[in-house]
């Protein structure tokens, strides 16, 4: 099975590099919440995507997470 974001072999639904990036995105959320006091997950992802310091794979993963989060919200509101 191929990674959802690139042509590499997937370890889950992502390759090991995008998986690592996902871990970094998730871990950094705690630090960002501490920094701003309050920060929603979607807002956080938006900021990470916009941030020029964010690495390429982290941006790709953040986009994917934001898209699936948006799909999840849309599905929840339609039901």
């Amino acid at each position: 099975m191929r990674c959802k974001l690139c042509a590499r072999e997937a370890v889950s639904d992502l390759c090991r590099y995008h998986e690592e990036a996902k871990g970094q995105v998730e871990a950094a959320y705690r630090l960002w919440k501490e920094a701003y006091g309050t920060l929603g997950w979607e807002d956080y992802l938006r900021e990470v995507i916009k941030n020029p310091e964010t690495g390429e794979w982290a941006v790709e993963v953040a986009r994917l997470m934001r898209a699936s989060s948006a799909r999840g919200s849309a599905a929840a509101s339609s039901s």
Partner: protein, 695 residues
């Protein structure tokens, strides 16, 4: 005495390069050298103190290590031999002619002198030439050792030329070639063959003893950068005033990681008076740097001229062959008195651009000596000779850098002052400071190459009261790690003791040539990432810096004559056998991983930007199998994304890395030459629709 090359009884001098041969002939000859042509190859014939010499040259390595089969599907190979270079790199006629000429000249020589560069590579070149090209003359040949190609030094080197039966340098050089060949050819063949089995296409995937760990550094950094998520912080600054003079001071902690804390600090400072809690004044000596060794020269040349390490060495080699500088491949940062400090400085200071250094000649000349030492050569220094030709780019800049560094080594230390003022306000501390040069010392001779920071020193004393005008904060984000460039990667290799001063630049060039890294900031390609991934998974010890370092230490022992090369080669064979077996056992998985990387590389190539429809895929150039026309499609097509657009069918297409302000689709360049035109990829872009309507 006749200059006829067929006349017997002369000393054959072997040099590393034709330019060196010419210089040596001119230096040694009693009159003017005459040229001798044998098989289309020019050598020089001279008379010296009643004796005849013929000076010939190699052109770098004329002999290489290879395996007798030279067949890429056969591995492992451990029975290696030295072959003429034209047998290894088939059809190299230049080498073939040169070896032929030297064999003819060797027949009538009754004495041999090795005058190749005095380092492991030079010794290897000379040894092989004498052994294979001159019928075993390496045993009795004399060795002339010199660090510059000035007449004075060359004459002295030849007067003192002697035979040393135990040649540690040559043994180490030859052992290095064998070890590197066994390592490189076997690993490269198993990886390339595995990739071919998986993809049905041959592609060379090479990895070497030092190349592997070096690529590992770049890949490690690449992963760190691409997975990086920054952390926000705040920098707080206070604007203070005293007697009409304003001062900007930074909060004592450079980074405050919580916004709530920033607001608290600001709240506690606003409306309060500041008081200077302390003034720390530090005057320190700033000693001159020692003369360059190879690594330092490469780093500084990159810093000032953006020259890659290999380009620096090419330029330095030219300066050396012009007898303007000493041998540029050296670890040493020391200048021995035997080079003649005063004579060199006097010659340099006679040039207008360095005339301000004349004042140094009034005192005793004692240069600052660095920590590093090389038994073969001193630090790089200018010879004091005048250039015979106008120096172009980059030789002129490099020469200037070397001269100024040499002059600076004799100059007194500079003196600098750093002042830090601490201001207390509202229970918090702020700091400001300044730096200045009190005594220029050596800095005045280095010109633009040494311009330390000069910032105004605040005129404040302890107890002074300051009015706080404003306190402000700036939100920042931790910067992502920096990629290696060629200079910093070289530095990393030096720190890890990987490779040698002669080989590091070449290894970096090889990584670029093989497509494992690209760009000025060295970016690892997908293939580079895959090679390291495969090695980590199936043969991790190949990437071990400990293993590579241990080999370097053994080579140093061989160089010192403590051991010969045989046991190192035996151990290398054992190590590589195991690694090849491990990779072969996982051949399918290895090939699959490498082929995936090739796929990912291809998928990455030709991409134009992020797909604005699904926002996770990439738009790339696709050619229809049916119509053969090119168009743009999304890499997430199989996931359901139908973003597509037609493309112009003529002209090269390149991404601009910019998006259209109207529709966020990528903008591309179409066509080559000086004026490619820009185009939004989106056929339905509002800007195109409105233009059409206007027409």
């Amino acid at each position: 005495m006749s200059d006829d090359p067929s006349a017997r009884g002369y000393t054959l001098v072997v040099c590393e390069k034709p330019d060196a041969a010419r210089r040596i002939s001119e230096a040694l000859a009693d009159g003017v050298p005459s040229t001798v042509s044998v098989g289309g190859v020019t050598s020089f014939s001279i008379q010296r103190k009643g004796e005849r010499y013929v000076v010939c040259a190699a052109q770098g390595h004329l002999y290489d290590v290879s395996d007798p089969f030279a067949e890429r599907s056969i591995y492992p190979v451990f029975d290696v031999e030295w072959f003429p270079h034209d047998k290894v790199a088939k059809g190299d006629a230049v080498v073939s002619r040169r070896i032929g000429a030297i064999k003819i000249l060797a027949k009538d020589a009754d004495r041999f002198v090795n005058a190749c560069d005095y380092d492991a590579e030079g010794e290897t070149i000379g040894y092989n030439l004498l052994r294979y090209g001159c019928g075993g003359a390496e045993r009795n040949a004399l060795r002339a050792k010199f660090s510059t190609l000035t007449k004075e030094e060359l004459v002295e080197a030849f007067e003192k030329a002697s035979n040393s039966p135990r040649n540690g340098l040559a043994n180490a050089g030859r052992a290095r070639h064998v070890v590197d060949f066994v390592w490189g050819v076997n690993l490269s063949r198993v990886l390339s063959q595995s990739a071919m089995i998986a993809s049905q296409k041959y592609r060379t995937v090479s990895v070497g003893r030092v190349q592997g760990p070096t690529l590992g550094f770049v890949v490690g950094k690449e992963i760190e950068i691409r997975t990086f998520v920054s952390r926000p912080y705040w920098a707080i600054r206070g604007l203070f005033e005293k007697d009409g003079t304003r001062f900007v001071a930074s909060y004592t902690a450079d980074r405050v990681y919580r916004r709530a804390e920033v607001e608290k600090i600001e709240g506690e400072c606003v409306g309060k008076e500041g008081r200077v809690a302390g003034v720390t004044r530090n005057v320190f000596e700033y000693p001159p740097p020692p003369a360059f060794n190879t690594g330092d020269l490469q780093k500084e040349a990159y810093r000032h001229f953006r020259l890659s390490p290999s380009r620096t060495m090419q330029a330095a080699e030219r300066l050396y062959l012009d007898a303007l500088i000493s041998y540029p491949r050296t670890s040493s940062q020391r200048l021995p008195a035997s080079i003649g400090y005063r004579k060199i400085l006097q010659a340099i200071c006679s040039l207008k651009e360095y005339s301000n250094a004349n004042e140094l000649l009034e005192g005793t000349l004692e240069p600052v000596q660095g920590d590093m030492y090389d038994s073969a050569h001193p630090a790089i220094y200018p010879t004091g000779e005048r250039p015979r030709r106008a120096l172009g780019y980059p030789e002129a800049g490099l020469y200037d850098l070397i001269v100024r560094r040499f002059i600076a080594a004799f100059a007194p230390a500079a003196k600098r002052e750093a002042v830090i003022v601490t201001v207390s306000v509202g229970g918090h501390r702020f700091k400001l400071g300044g730096r200045r040069t009190l005594v220029t010392g050596w800095l005045r001779y280095c010109g633009k190459y040494a311009r330390p920071d000069e910032t105004e020193i605040p005129t404040l004393g302890e107890g002074d009261l300051l009015r706080l005008l404003k306190i402000e904060h700036e939100e920042k984000f931790e910067p992502r790690p920096q990629r290696y460039n060629q200079s910093s990667l070289l530095e990393k290799m030096e720190r890890e003791n990987l490779g040698t001063k002669a080989t590091r630049a070449e290894i970096i060039s090889t990584l670029i040539a093989r497509g494992y890294v690209h760009g000025e900031s060295l970016i690892a390609s997908d293939l580079g990432l895959a090679v390291i991934e495969v090695l980590k998974r199936h043969a991790p010890s190949i990437l071990s810096t400990d293993l590579t370092r241990a080999v370097e230490e053994r080579l140093e022992r061989i160089e010192s004559g403590i051991e010969d090369g045989r046991s190192l080669i035996r151990e290398t064979v054992k190590t590589i056998s195991k690694q090849v077996a491990a990779l072969r056992a996982d051949e399918e998985a290895v090939g699959h991983d490498l082929s995936s990387a090739a796929l990912a590389t291809i998928a990455g190539q030709g991409t134009l930007g992020i797909c604005p429809v699904c926002r996770t895929g990439k738009l790339r150039v696709i050619r229809s199998k049916k119509t053969h026309k090119r168009f743009v499609g999304c890499t997430n097509y199989s996931e359901g994304c139908r973003a597509s657009a037609p493309l112009p069918q003529r002209g090269a297409i390149r991404p601009t890395n910019k998006v259209c302000a109207h529709c966020s689709w990528p903008i591309i360049y179409v066509g080559g030459g000086r004026l490619p035109w820009r185009l939004c990829v989106n056929a339905s872009c509002p800007s195109k629709v409105s233009r059409k309507n206007a027409l």
